[in-house]
Symmetry: C2
């Protein structure tokens, strides 16, 4: 579930949100659909998502460049998820668009 992104630079869109308690099934269906749609977009590199029992969640999507991230925003807005989200699914959210400069990590299965 850790995205297999290429060597930097590339763009990360960090979406942090606090869910309401409303419409659990509708929200889950929307979130799945958004992830499926994102994966079909030009310049898509991957997505990572986590939400705790307190309803606070973080989704990071990765894109080849700022243009690809902007194009995805236009599609996402068109799908209407953010508009509906404001009213039903989210108490608050924040979107931050950032350029990844470097990365490193660890994977137990890749250890010698």
């Amino acid at each position: 579930m850790i995205a297999a992104t290429p060597a930097p630079p590339y763009v990360a869109v960090i979406f942090t949100s606090q869910r309401t308690d409303d419409d659990v099934a509708g929200y889950a269906a929307m979130a799945d659909e958004m992830e499926r749609q994102a994966a079909t977009q030009p310049g898509y590199l991957g997505i990572e998502s986590a939400r705790g029992d307190d309803g606070f969640g973080i989704t990071v999507s990765y894109w080849r460049d700022a243009a690809a991230a902007r194009a995805w925003k236009a599609v996402a807005d068109h799908l209407g998820a953010q508009r509906l989200g404001r009213e039903r699914w989210y108490r608050a959210y924040r979107v931050r668009v950032a350029e990844v400069a470097r990365e490193y990590g660890f994977d137990r299965d890749s250890m010698v």
Copy 2:
């Protein structure tokens, strides 16, 4: 729980990880201590964290600039969390250092 970050630019350190099932209490104590320590560092702007029941988690810490993020890495390494984490707490993790260029959002409590 959404960090109250200032106007961009600033730096985001995106830490994504897959937990093992081991040492739940020890991990929680380490995570709390790391968040407390981060908040005392120069250039700290905020932190956001979420982990689902599947053990996949994302923590994003925000810093005034790349130098502050690097200094925090040195402190965190010294605290030993990553070294121990490799062996006990994480199946895999990835750290991405990124510069936030723009942000926007929504807060129900701030609506007129």
